[in-house]
């Protein structure tokens, strides 16, 4: 049984170099590796490219100051954002207007599928979503194709240096289980990065997650970090 190393959030942050492209699971930071993000903030490293559904929240569900990757944005540690929606973090729009933050917006299903493609060994995605819109001008759009009379955009796979997963339970071999809506982008991101770190609320013995209910397989996970329990 190949156990995966359990490391601290600080050790995880130390593995992520300046300027790395980082995928962060989470939807408004639900299902996000928030302890590792806190350590990335503390590290002061910058020049990151963040790939995530959104840029999380400046205020947490119970009034916490910063919740997830929003703090990296506010701390000006990010140079580029690839996301579907940044309306909950006005700081993104502001830094973009000031010219210090590049923002690439991609439809939510397309982002999920481009990441899935990278993790599934596919050369691209053909999707009808985004035809006749600004998505056609996205750096991830490689043009249009017509198939059986219907138009599709050809979108590039999206891969990252690091993926940070936010899980609820992770067993000692890295098998993960997400509670509620934590799952979101985490399972696809687990397949599409060179280094995958699973932050979890509970490290559990192998067998506690039923084989039928493993959402992310340990084969995709390199390191485990025990985060805060909520």
């Amino acid at each position: 049984m190949a156990k995966k190393p359990v490391i601290t959030a600080k050790e995880a942050a130390a593995m992520i170099p300046e300027g790395a492209t980082i995928m962060c699971g989470g939807f408004l930071a639900c299902g996000q590796a928030r302890a590792i993000v806190k350590e990335l903030v503390a590290s002061g490293k910058g020049g990151f490219t963040l790939i995530a559904n959104d840029m999380a929240r400046a205020v947490g569900p119970m009034g916490e100051e910063f919740f997830g990757i929003a703090e990296l944005i506010h701390n000006k540690q990010v140079k580029r954002v690839i996301a579907t929606h940044v309306g909950m973090t006005p700081e993104v729009g502001q830094q973009n207007t000031e010219g210090t933050l590049e923002v690439n917006l991609i439809p939510q299903g397309t982002l999920a599928e481009c990441i899935r493609a990278a993790g599934a060994g596919l050369g691209g995605v053909l999707t009808p979503v985004g035809v006749d819109t600004l998505v056609e001008e996205s750096p991830f759009c490689m043009g249009k194709q017509t198939i059986d009379g219907k138009e599709y955009l050809l979108m590039k796979p999206i891969h990252a240096d690091v993926a940070l997963l936010g899980t609820y339970k992770c067993d000692e071999t890295g098998n993960c289980w997400y509670k509620g809506t934590m799952r979101n982008f985490n399972p696809v991101m687990a397949t599409a990065a060179d280094l995958v770190i699973a932050e979890t609320e509970y490290v559990v013995p192998v067998g506690e997650i039923e084989p039928e209910n493993i959402h992310t397989f340990g084969m995709c996970v390199d390191y485990i970090v025990e985060g805060e329990r909520k």
């Binding site: 939807f27 408004l28 930071a29 639900c30 559904n53 959104d54 929240r57 569900p61 119970m62 996301a83 579907t84 929606h85 940044v86 309306g87 909950m88 729009g93 973009n96 923002v103 917006l105 439809p107 939510q108 299903g109 397309t110 999920a112 599928e113 990441i115 899935r116 999707t127 009808p128 979503v129 985004g130 035809v131 006749d132 819109t133 600004l134 998505v135 609820y168 997400y178 509670k179 509620g180 809506t181 934590m182 799952r183 979101n184 982008f185 985490n186 399972p187 696809v188 959402h215 909520k230």
Partner: protein, 222 residues
């Protein structure tokens, strides 16, 4: 009609579009009011793009299912799953959306036009919140219904051709406002129902696109 009544009036009319068992995605704001007005015997499967198929009622602090760190909606607010619902990852979930498994999506608009084009995600130079899942829903849902106030500060939002960047082209099937119900046809907008508080001329004056009036124009009010 009082300003405070408008949203409820529109949501009530939207509810008539639905039948028992429909899988429905509701945009933020007005569309979330639709379930309050469902006819007796109509239960929906509420689809939430962040990963719930069969969402339940909004839980409050103290409720057994209040779990703001693990179960939230697309606005980040506490959410719940229905007794017969479940959780799903984003890639699979958007496969369901694009694949036509969602019966209807209801959403607001900045602009909508006579060809069924919709603009509701960006005002260049002003706001760039992002499209989120809106483009996928407009393209993938079987029916795309725009529900909104007919005008914004007196200015028409229903146009001959959208000026703002589109969310999707040729996607809107129906427009429901406090003034009327418009169907988008290949020949343009067809008014099928009108709120008796307004005349056809009122509607035309508040709309910047040609409207054809259905021969059997009905009242929006029962």
């Amino acid at each position: 009609m009082e300003k405070s009544e408008i949203k409820g009036f529109i949501a009530k009319r939207c509810a008539k579009e639905l039948k028992n068992g429909d899988v429905v995605n509701l945009g933020i704001g007005l569309p979330t009011m639709i379930p309050r007005y469902l006819p007796e015997g109509v239960e929906l499967v509420i689809h939430a793009e962040l990963g719930i198929v069969g969402a339940g009622a909004t839980p409050h602090e103290g409720d057994a299912n209040f779990d703001p760190y693990h179960v939230v909606d697309a606005g980040g607010n506490p959410a719940s799953v229905a007794f017969d619902g479940g959780f799903i990852d984003s890639a699979t979930n958007f496969g369901l959306i694009r694949g036509g498994h969602v019966d209807a999506c209801f959403l607001g608009a900045l602009e909508v036009d006579a060809m069924g084009n919709l603009a509701n995600w960006i005002i260049p130079g002003k706001k760039m919140p992002g499209m989120g899942g809106a483009m996928d829903l407009c393209v993938g849902a079987k029916k795309c219904i725009v529900c909104m106030e007919h005008t914004a500060k007196g200015n028409p939002k229903i146009l001959e051709k959208c000026r703002l960047p589109l969310t999707a082209s040729h996607c809107v099937n129906k427009i429901i406002t406090e003034m009327c119900v418009l169907e988008v046809t290949k020949d343009g907008l067809l008014m099928t129902e009108i709120n008796p508080e307004f005349t056809v001329e009122d509607v035309k004056a508040a709309t910047a696109a040609p409207i054809t009036v259905a021969e059997n124009l009905k009242s929006m009010v029962d």
